[in-house]
Symmetry: C2
Subunit: 413 residues, 2 copies
């Protein structure tokens, strides 16, 4: 056996495709981004004929832009790169706090240009951004979001049958380190927002990294995390099912299937719970089940909590999109609560069942802020017990990663 | 329960982040690429201030470029886009044959610019390219590579312990449709090339789509497919382990860990087989095991076949990078064979064990062509039985997808 040793260096020399090789030589001298020892970050872009180059990202002070139908909204800030020698443009930030950051370049009128020197990207609906992580010490946010030298859980793309929606559908399932050794595990159902899919929480949300790191330090219990697809008209993420390589959209934009006007999320959701309980070693009791979600997924969690008050013991609403079926788009959530004939009874039934945790997180500048205020006011007036956390910022993944980190430490204990 | 119906359209309206929304409105009017009814494909790019825009991709006639240390090599062709109204540049191809194609744009001296209207990308080491699929009819190559309305297997990222390499390592495992219903399955070990990782075959290679489609039509047996990481100095793909978000390289380029001069691939490979046999319902016999790989992975397959002649019954060498440890870089493979004191005996032992299939695929213009000729000449002189397939083109993923499609239909039957 010892005779058959491959000389790796030689093998490497001879086995690269021409395309990849061309790229390797072209970009050999540009590293970007560079996290400097003083905590600043330098971007380098080779663009020898460009006239104007900017970087836009969430590490810059936000600006306000106008979006049709929404008025003025926060958007990432912009900074100019300056041209140095050899056609390489450069910008260095101030010292950045520990975090996972996103950015793209604007070059001569083109927006959203990816950094060719950085292979790390996230997709948010139709937008790709490059990402990088800044961390100063163990346990800070950057450290929680990166892959550390700790035991890792497995991440699987799992197809199941949905009798309710009458289709095969795909979900992402995290099994914790040690799952292959046996034992039973509680399950967290983790729901994405509108425009998202079953890949959102594992990619944008860094769910596997957060869970690996919290479990390794004993801050969270080992648990299975199920990340389903919350779009009842889709089997899976764009390009991952038979609709083909469509442009994902929002509401009725894009080239994918159009959303139906209404959908019975809670009913089809139990198809998922039943599949997971049948195919994984789960704690098949209320105290072994948690559900949480961001934005639309927070709305789904809210609906699930009212529909199945004895199935889950832990609920998390992250920047929730709240709406009642009897309400209209012109009504505040307070008015919807007031006019709905069943909400009072459903709420009473939910809290009479004594869930172990009803948790809500919301950003101070989130455009959905008021609807959660309305819900809290109503539940406060009834004396129902819940936990509430308010953070800086708006309707952004940075907040949702924080909420998952907080919520995961509070459940199954 | 019926009362809690979410109005999806409304939920969608309110739950999008500002960044994503800005992007949605900016790019709303540009669709790219568009596969036209006549089989041509149109690229559209919004670049209002650009002076020169080209598309480069593998659907264009290849050109020849000079690469340092390699001389002249094939590279994808280039075509010019023309500027139309509203700052949108356009190019339409001729009619394209069914295939999965790759492309990027060159804009005013910047190369490798991704199409902002196309969310579908593949990463090949440090190069991202956009992709699209052309298919004319059921069963053609485009159809084989896309996701069809057939039962789907699951794809998992699985961490295992390697006693030989003394580290936790990650692999990608495909379990076929129906695996969750029980039964035992044969296993195909599918190895990547130099610069690749455990994601290469499932992403660039479309392995899950090819297997789903071949199994659905009865052309391949249901099988587990294990795609390990063949870099003994890495735990997992770039960004997926504790080395962090490094720039992957080739040999000693990039910012990742440097490759050791030699590595005992065959020994650590059995750690993988042992883990899979212990944790999956496998056919734990020679007739239930196949191994194949591309380029460096073809070299690994070759080494494994000589080292463990009774462990596998099916071997596949795809554009293999062949080398013997006693050989030098200046020697042809024929000279290495001639000078190696053990190769004759190892070959004799391998074929005396009567493997059910020893299969080789090679492209006519592959720069590794001659080494496989040398191996075939030697084995022909001994009367050893193998199968050999020659295709057009060189050292490219297009060939490796074809070889997987062929090989998968020949094993476990």
């Amino acid at each position: 056996m010892k005779r058959i040793i491959l000389m790796m260096a030689l093998a490497a020399m001879c086995c690269i495709s021409a395309t990849a090789q061309e790229k390797l030589f072209n970009s050999a001298n540009v590293q970007s981004p560079v996290v400097n020892p003083d905590g600043t970050v330098t971007f380098n872009l080779f663009a020898p004929k460009a006239v104007k180059v900017e970087v836009t990202g969430d590490f810059l002070p936000p600006r306000t832009i106008e979006v049709p139908g929404r008025g003025m909204v926060d958007a990432p800030g912009v900074a100019a790169l300056t041209e140095g020698s050899g056609g390489v443009w450069t910008y260095t930030t101030g010292k950045l706090a520990p975090e996972l950051y996103s950015y793209t370049f604007n070059i001569d009128g083109m927006t959203g240009v990816k950094d060719p020197a950085n292979i790390y990207v996230n997709r948010d609906i139709v937008s790709f951004t490059n990402i990088f992580i800044v961390s100063e010490q163990k346990g800070d946010k950057g450290d929680l979001y990166r892959v550390n030298e700790v035991p890792h859980g497995n991440l699987s793309k799992v197809w199941y049958n949905s009798p309710t929606l009458k289709m095969q559908r795909r979900m992402t399932i995290y099994t914790p380190p040690g799952y292959d050794k046996g034992g039973k595990y509680p399950v967290l159902y983790l729901l994405h927002g509108a425009g998202g899919d079953e890949n959102a929480w594992s990619e944008l949300g860094r769910a596997a990294q957060i869970l690996d790191n919290l479990i390794a330090t004993g801050k969270a219990k080992p648990m299975i995390v199920v990340m389903p697809n919350g779009n009842p008209n889709c089997q899976a993420a764009p390009g991952e099912w038979s609709w083909g390589m469509y442009t994902p959209g929002f509401g009725n934009s894009g080239t994918g299937p159009k959303e139906p006007a209404v959908a019975t999320i809670p009913a089809s959701f139990m198809d998922i719970v039943n599949y997971v309980d049948a195919n994984y070693r789960t704690v098949k009791k209320r105290e072994g089940r948690a559900v949480c979600g961001l934005s639309m997924g927070g709305g789904h969690t809210f609906a699930i909590s009212l529909t199945y008050p004895k199935t889950f013991d832990y609920y998390g609403l992250f920047s929730a999109g709240l709406h009642l079926s009897t309400g209209s788009r012109n009504q505040s959530f307070a008015e919807q609560i007031k006019n709905d004939p069943d909400f009072a009874q459903q709420s009473a039934r939910l809290f009479a069942s004594k869930p172990k945790l009803y948790w809500m997180g919301m950003g101070k500048t989130d455009f959905l802020y008021q609807s959660t205020v309305d819900l809290r006011n109503y539940w406060d007036s009834k004396g129902y017990k819940y936990e509430y956390v308010e953070t800086d910022g708006g309707h952004i993944w940075r907040n949702w990663r924080i909420y998952l980190t907080m919520f995961a430490q509070k459940i199954f204990k």
